[in-house]
Amino acid sequence: MNTRTITATPRSAAGLPLGALAAGLGFGCVALVPLLVDDPFLIHSLIMVLFFAYMASSWNFLCGYVGQLSLGHAMFSGVGGYVSVLMFTQLGLSPWIGMLFGGLLAAGLSVLIGYPTFRLKGPYFTLTTIAFAEIVRIWVENTNDFIGVPLKGAEGLVVPAAGDSLWAFQFSSKTPYFYIILAMLALVMLATRLMERSKLGYCLKAVRGDRDAAEALGINPTPSTLAALAISAFMTALGGSFYAQFFRYINPERNMGLELSIDMAVMTIIGGQGTVAGPLLGALILTPISEMARSHLGGGLPGLHLVVYGLVLMACVLYFPKGAIAPLGRLAKRLTDRRGSRP
């Protein structure tokens, strides 16, 4: 589904937009998987695909539509993860509440950082986002205690077991985590779809196209980009909280390292940035490759998955500069045109 072209939405016989129908059917089929398959490794792998699709979609919400490459988004994931874990361990609050607070803190932090950085363009913007994220990561990595709050530096924090409890966001089976991340992905994709059809979406796409031309059409780029950044940071932080709860462990390297930011960006670019389904497609392509590279070759060749990412990225840029979603979009358009031209 290439959502860049929004004209004359094709509709099903029941009057529903075909895209929405296909998305609903797709999510419905995926939701049936745990009922049909009883393989924890497969469910775990699917959770990772959905998690990275969620994170890439959160990144895409801003960067895909504004056309700026942020490699600092993992910082927001870390903020979300640490806040939810600390609120649970220190205050006894449910991680669901901590997730919300983490999201809000990340959104606030993003506006503070975004205001000066969005004045920069291209590689200067990217380098600045890396710098901010690395400052925060290195600070957390080297801080054992911050005003009485134990961060435990590079060692990280372990979430104490609380039994099978929805309130504590802890489950003995992987299936509930599967449904939670599936619902989160559905919500972020819906939010992206609504955004791209809204005034905000048009403003962001105009800024991506040409900033001067956008300004001449009455668009003040700063509030639009900052609003999208805050939403994107909020959603990324929720993903970071999920990750911490899923593994019941958080440390700066895993939750806020540069590698996570690169994962989000590369998956979106390969799938198709500035589209609703592109990040999901990118995660579907890259996560299994990455998991296989890690599990089969990672011991002997650490970081090999990044080499694989690089190769896939080069192939994609050469053959599908608009992402792997573009040929699928053309195919879907051809099918709907053929269907429409039938008597």
């Binding site: 860049r4 004209t7 048009y202 796409k205 003040n220």
Partner: protein
């Protein structure tokens, strides 16, 4: 007597040691097409950018419908009722024609259905109805110019600033653009046009102002102004004027 919609009062702009525009004053009447002329480097685009909010004047006022907009940012100038096109057209390449036009519509309302309806009408007005789903990247240079013009019109301006709209166009395309500009004026929109192609300026403008080295050297009807010695000297040099004398 026409009412003034834009009154430029003594604006100046200096870039380091270069005085790009010096104490420039002129006005645009309601429903008027005013041509802004001058040789390369005369300060036309600098003046244009000061009116459109891309440059802040060092001195002077820019009164639009009586309100000073000098120093306001481009989006505020647009919201006030002034739209512009660029010397090098800047379409949003990966959006299609209708989406490009819709971006302009959000300046006035958030009603997506109304914006889309207006964008469809504008595509037809520009003669681009059959290309409405074409990506801007796939359009010809002239169609991109028309698209940019339509996008500016979708902001519902009362004054349109046009920067060299027929640059690089074939004679038939230039004729089509002249016709479009006339129809825009007939819609009640005043036009300030910067142009090098004399044939276009002469056939379009109700009045022209001429700049040279950042200063106003002539203001009046096109036929009279282009025969003025100061204008001829600015364009062709002293020897040309002497040889005609």
């Amino acid at each position: 007597m026409t009412t003034t919609i834009l009154d430029v009062q003594g604006i100046s702009k200096r870039f380091g040691g270069v005085q790009a525009v010096k104490d420039l004053s002129f006005s645009v009447g309601k429903g008027e097409i005013l041509g802004l002329l001058g040789p390369n480097g005369a300060g036309k685009t600098t003046a244009f950018n000061m009116i459109a909010g891309y440059l802040r004047p060092d001195t002077g006022k820019v009164l639009f419908e009586g309100k000073d907009i000098a120093g306001k940012r481009p989006w505020d100038v647009c919201k006030a009722g002034i739209a512009r096109t660029f010397q090098l057209s800047k379409p949003f390449g990966d959006l299609n024609v209708i989406e490009n036009l819709m971006v302009g519509g959000f300046c006035r309302t958030g009603d997506r259905a109304r914006i889309r309806e207006r964008a469809e009408w504008m595509a037809d007005f520009l003669g681009m109805g059959r290309q409405r789903e074409a990506e801007a990247n796939n359009l010809t240079a002239f169609d991109r110019r028309k698209l940019e013009l339509g996008r500016a019109l979708c902001t519902e301006p009362r004054l349109l600033l046009m920067d060299e709209v027929v640059a690089g166009a074939t004679p038939s395309e230039a004729g089509e653009m002249v016709e479009l500009v006339r129809r825009i004026r007939d819609m009640g929109i005043s036009v300030l046009i910067v142009e090098h192609v004399m044939k276009v300026i002469m056939s379009l403008s109700d009045r022209v102002v001429v700049l040279d080295y950042g200063e106003l050297i002539a203001d009046g009807e096109p036929q009279r102004v282009v025969a003025e010695p100061r204008v001829l000297k600015a364009y062709f040099g002293e020897r040309y004027v002497q040889s005609r004398a």
